[in-house]
């Protein structure tokens, strides 16, 4: 599904090298986790995959099935089925959450040559989905993420994901800032979306999320590279011992 090969990325403005040869493959239907110290490049990787400006890919490739990610605009990547749940969801005053969601759903449908969803259909689906994430109707009416609490913002990301039905979901620290119950809701949301033709890349600092969303593979990222990959037990090791041992062993 997602294939990243030897990805090298530097900051366009400062020329600083952030990713130094990331290679990673997430097969269809699998959940992979990325853990790693602050500043190791996890968010950068997610932004580069989603197509944010400001980065220069100096080497390597990334694709979603046959679709060359790096060659396309963010909206084209989204239409191809990529979704990034932001570490810091963006507040957009003046744009209603509902308008935003409907425009996004229909823009993707349009670009895939599918008919637009009518207002009634859409409303029903949003309401149902929001309910499962404990997002109340009043929140849907507010501007995108404006005045949302940290946890509400994260749940709103999962709502968007559920509405857009992407095939490759990247979750960047969606668990940070969530209370125990919200974490459970989010995990249920993700698990509900698990399917043979859908994959997840979950960036997290905590083992706890991975108790709820069982990963097939855990990768450790440090200084712009994947330095170790393994089963779920790797996350446990990080939880208990931190990164020191792992980093020492690969140094």
């Amino acid at each position: 599904m997602l294939k990243i090969e030897n990805l090298h990325v530097k900051l366009e403005e400062e020329g600083k090298q952030i990713l130094k040869g990331v290679s990673l493959e997430v097969p269809a239907g699998q959940v992979h986790a990325i853990m790693g110290p602050n500043g190791s490049g996890k968010s950068t990787l997610s932004y580069v995959l989603a197509g944010r400006d400001g980065y220069e890919v100096t080497e390597g490739a990334a694709s979603l099935g046959d679709f060359d990610l790096l060659d396309h605009e963010p909206e084209e990547r989204a239409a191809a089925g990529l979704f990034l749940a932001f570490q810091y969801p963006v507040e957009i005053p003046g744009v209603g959450n509902m308008t935003f969601l409907r425009t996004a759903v229909n823009a993707q449908r349009k670009s895939r040559g599918e008919p637009e969803m009518n207002a009634a259909e859409f409303l029903k689906l949003v309401r149902e989905t929001a309910k499962t994430l404990n997002i109340d109707a009043e929140m849907l009416k507010r501007p995108v993420n404006v005045g949302f609490s940290g946890g509400e913002k994260k749940r709103n990301e999962i709502l968007q994901m559920a509405m857009l039905q992407p095939r490759m979901c990247i979750l960047d620290e969606t668990d940070s800032g969530l209370d125990v119950d919200a974490m459970k809701l989010v995990a249920d949301g993700v698990n509900g979306l698990r399917a043979p033709d859908r994959s997840f890349l979950v960036i997290t600092h905590y083992q706890r999320l991975l108790d709820h969303i069982r990963p097939d593979v855990v990768h450790i990222m440090a200084d712009g590279r994947i330095v170790q990959s393994g089963g779920p037990e790797l996350a446990l090791e990080v939880e208990h011992n931190g990164y020191a041992d792992i980093l020492k062993s690969v140094a």
């Binding site: 963006v90 993707q108 968007q160």
Partner: protein, 430 residues
């Protein structure tokens, strides 16, 4: 300041273009003569004048005016769904055949021509009076010209709750027409009126509204300035607000070669509030200028100015807004925000926010910003599948919405949103 020969000649030329009205009542004749004298004393506007530095007045003065092709809008006109009393002007001339009868419960409506021909009329206490007050300390020569010469317009005496909004519709028929209209509104204590205005009016338009809002009266004003690309307009509103009165004026401007909207408000009674807001959007040789002057001369009044301009492909936005708090005008709450959103590097937003405060117990704030569309927001939206142009359109509407939110009536506010959305959609931005 001595008036230069150029300014003087300019004023003479303006007065020569428009014939002096004849056969009017003596009070009107006297108001006209005084206005002509005021204009001669201040001279025509020139670029060097302090409040014309950002907006070159030349094209508002030259004879003949530059032609403006008539723009035939395909979609439904503004305020289409609003039940209102329609008063239609064609190239600035009142057209009774296209207008509703001038009858409405809660108000008395006459034409300016009728009024200035009447020997005894309340309008004598208003006509040219507020305009004169508004000339100090900033000259407004085009408004003085209007007092001296305008013969078209509507005079409204609001005695109670107007049964429906009054709507001025300015149809533009001739490419070369120049129009001048003058409206007078007197609102009795506790009365209520909504005034709607729309239409391109003429190739060049000079419009002045003088309005006296008595104690506890409430005035709502929403206007859209016609979309004809090459039209030019200089408008002015002079308002005087009594105790606990309310004044709300919103203007939407899309297109137009040059628009100068002046608004001069004076608080004379305590506990009143005023809002002036504008949302404008234009491209290329579009120049839009809001020049606002609010004088607080009473206690505990609140004023808000919210102006948003979206500028594209070399367009220019101008904002000159002043809050003057006179000695004794304690507890004044004055707020002013002006923002330009530049959709490219060629466009310009020029702002001159001013505060002048002579009372110590006041809360006044002003802010002015100018910038491009926020890249982070754009990325967030496009990452959800919105094409960049559409994402930009949504952000543009969001930017303008802060001004639209100043409109009290949600139906009118939605009408404005729809219009701005359509403007963007025609440009592939939504």
């Amino acid at each position: 300041m001595a008036v230069t020969a150029r300014k003087l000649e300019g004023a003479e030329a303006l007065l020569a273009v428009w014939p002096a009205p004849v056969g009017e009542a003596s009070w009107a004749r006297s108001a006209r003569e005084k206005a002509a004298a005021r204009l001669m004393a201040m001279g025509a506007p020139v670029r060097r004048d302090e409040y014309w530095r950002f907006t070159d007045p030349t094209s508002l003065l030259v004879q003949p005016p530059k032609p403006a092709p008539v723009y035939d809008a395909i979609e439904k006109p503004p305020f289409g769904d609003v039940d209102r009393l329609r008063i239609v002007f064609v190239d600035g001339v009142y057209d009774p055949d296209q207008s509703d009868p001038l009858e409405l419960a809660g108000v008395e409506i006459q034409t300016l021509a009728q009024v200035v021909g009447t020997d005894i009329h309340w309008a004598r206490d208003l006509f040219g009076v507020l305009e004169t007050r508004g000339q100090d300390p900033v000259d407004r020569p085009l408004a003085a010209l209007n007092t001296a010469r305008a013969t078209e317009g509507i005079v409204i005496n609001v005695t109670g709750q107007a049964a429906r909004p009054v709507s001025f519709i300015y149809r533009h028929a001739s490419e070369t027409g120049e129009a001048m209209v003058r409206h007078l509104i007197r609102m009795a204590p506790g009365s209520d009126l909504t005034l709607l205005e729309n239409g391109a009016a003429a190739a060049r338009f000079n419009s002045v509204l003088e309005i006296e809002v008595a104690d506890n009266a409430s005035f709502h004003h929403v206007r859209t300035q016609g979309r004809a690309h090459d039209r030019r307009a200089a408008t002015a509103i002079f308002a005087r607000l009594g105790k606990e009165s309310s004044f709300k004026s919103f203007t939407m401007t899309a297109n137009g070669r040059l628009t100068r909207n002046e608004c001069v408000i004076e608080f004379t009674g305590d506990d009143a509030h005023a809002r002036v807001a504008g949302a404008s959007i234009g491209e290329a040789d579009f120049l839009h200028d809001d020049t606002v002057f609010i004088t607080h001369d009473a206690v505990n009044c609140e004023s808000r100015q919210v102006f948003k301009k979206v500028l594209r492909s070399g367009a220019t936005g101008v904002f000159q807004g002043k809050i003057l708090v006179k000695p004794g005008a304690q507890k004044t709450d004055g707020y002013q925000i002006s923002q330009g959103l530049l959709l490219d590097d060629d466009s310009n937003f020029l702002a001159k926010p001013e505060l002048e405060i002579y009372a110590d117990d006041v809360a006044c704030s002003h802010g002015s910003t100018c910038g491009a569309v926020d890249e982070t927001s754009l990325f967030y939206l496009t990452s959800r599948g919105l094409p960049r142009a559409e994402a930009e359109g949504l952000l543009v509407l969001a930017f303008l919405d802060e001004a639209i939110q100043e409109i009290e009536d949600p139906v009118l506010a939605d009408d404005m949103r729809e219009r701005l959305g359509a403007w963007l959609a025609r440009r592939g931005r939504l």
